[in-house]
Symmetry: C2
Subunit: 315 residues, 2 copies
């Protein structure tokens, strides 16, 4: 079994998401908090200039700068493009077998509680997420990307990378309760990685619920692109709850309800995330999947962790 | 009795407070909604450049640009300084007796519900606020300034001006429920002004609770000015609730509680407002006052409305 050699805890990928920024500052001052015996840990502020002015980004969204082709493109020279290349050179394992782990700390204005966002559904991450679900009852797992697809997010430069997304909290605000929950979560993850390296983890066989992103939904807009309706009050803050055909989804400025016209139940997340207005996203729609590991370790393709996960419910 | 001649409904004084912006847009499209028979109404976007980029301001906070000396200073040339002068020239009644009314629409990340903020405690505003309190059970009145003191906020260019502050809502987010509540509130205010002009208002004699600002509290900081503690989870979202000596106020990043050391009960508001981090304000402390009108109209100094209000409980 390959061991994890380095863990990077990253905050401030977005300069107005304060919890990650203040946690990284705390870990910088007190490195003992994140030190473990079997791997190196570092805390990094990803976008220091944006953090300094309390804005999401300076030129462009740093968390959309990590496509391989962009990292290799010398013509991209915005502040965030340059910063992405610097971060990539520190951690790059997209093309290597280094067992590095990136934990990218984010906050959201949506009511997503404690969410673990992954792209690749690597067995290592699924096993870790299953453990975290057993420790934190409100912990959710969101599969954002498509298996093996190159993505532009920071976590993607680590094969095992994931995002911790906590909310709801306004941009530019420190929520003490979510700060403490995020810190506890990071500690639990580091302890689990330590146990993983020491091969003292008992493989769990309980099922894991994954919310698989299937679609993004824009706000209703007119021909000029102006927003014509708001998230419906009955949907606001209902992240991860079922949205059934015929349920209210939006409310126009004149008070008319617009309804979900899909054919099957979905589970919206990132509902009314402030930063997604400019991206044309009012919410993600997800489908619920349940997977279960086979309880065996270290087999198959030289990969880390449990290799076979079976989809038991879902599309 | 002087009549109100013009009412201005202002949104987008801060470009990331979406409810006012979208309400002004709606009123622009449907002016009938705000038209009344006895006065002119206009809807105005105060800071269009900041609204276009979804930021609080371009150069400086527009809602701190309305001191008389700044409005008269030709050397101030930031975007917001210029914009303040333009707005002032449209509405200026600081030095005139024009019976104009400015309603400035804001949102806050604090849990302030529907709040009416006034500076001068003019009898007209107190009477209106008393009416609104009877219609909206969660309506609160915050006296922010000192009687007759020149202030830098936009509402101050109208003798009767006030702010409607609604929350909690994150910056950059449209909350449909608060949007509808704000729109209803504006309608109720316009109806009341219409009735006032028509002299069909029965003077109310029920007492009015006013939260009088007495102090601003910064976050605990180190010598470098870095924040050392967050709003305590037990205080978060508890705007307008009593804070007693010995109650927890802040929580350090290491989990230590810091307690309120004042000698008497106060009522914090603007708790953890995102925009106030840069202003060195973690909250306002207020004292509760109860005032009551004398039930007579139009007497005293040629002023509008009930002239004598008596402080029955308070400092």
């Amino acid at each position: 079994m390959n061991k994890i050699k380095r863990v990077a805890i990253i905050g401030g990928t977005h300069g107005n998401e304060l919890i990650g920024i203040y946690l990284v500052n705390k870990f910088d001052r007190q490195p003992d908090l994140i030190a473990r015996s079997t791997f190196q840990t570092m805390a990094l502020l990803a976008n220091p200039k944006a953090c300094a002015i309390g804005k999401r980004y300076i030129d462009i969204d740093l968390n959309r700068c990590f496509l391989q082709q962009d990292l290799e493109n010398p013509n991209l020279s915005s502040y965030e493009s340059e910063r992405a290349k610097e971060i990539y050179h520190i951690f790059s394992s997209k093309n290597r077998d280094d067992a590095d782990l990136i934990i990218d700390l984010h906050t959201t204005t949506s009511n997503m509680g404690l969410t673990f966002i992954l792209d690749s559904q690597h067995p290592f991450d699924l096993q870790l997420a299953t453990h975290l679900t057993s420790v934190y009852p409100n912990f959710k797992v969101l599969a954002s990307g498509t298996q093996n697809q190159d993505t532009s997010v920071l976590r993607s430069i680590s094969k095992l990378g994931f995002t911790l997304e906590v909310g709801p909290v306004a941009q530019g605000v420190l929520d003490a309760s979510l700060f403490q929950q995020t810190e506890a979560l990071v500690g639990t993850i580091l302890d689990w990685v330590e146990a993983y390296n020491q091969e003292t983890i008992a493989p769990v066989e309980n099922p894991l619920t994954i919310y698989q992103k299937v679609q993004t939904i824009d706000y209703p807009r007119n021909e000029s692109g102006e927003i014509q309706a708001m998230i419906h009050p009955q949907l606001q803050f209902r992240d991860y709850e079922p949205l059934n055909p015929g349920d209210p989804m939006f409310l126009t400025f004149d008070g008319e309800s617009l309804f979900y016209e899909g054919k099957s139940t979905v589970y919206p997340v990132f509902i009314n995330e402030a930063a997604y207005y400019e991206k044309g996203i009012s919410m993600y729609l997800t489908q619920k999947q349940i997977v279960i590991g086979n309880g065996e370790w270290g087999i198959g393709n030289g990969e880390l962790g449990i290799s076979n996960w079976e989809l038991v419910i879902g599309n």
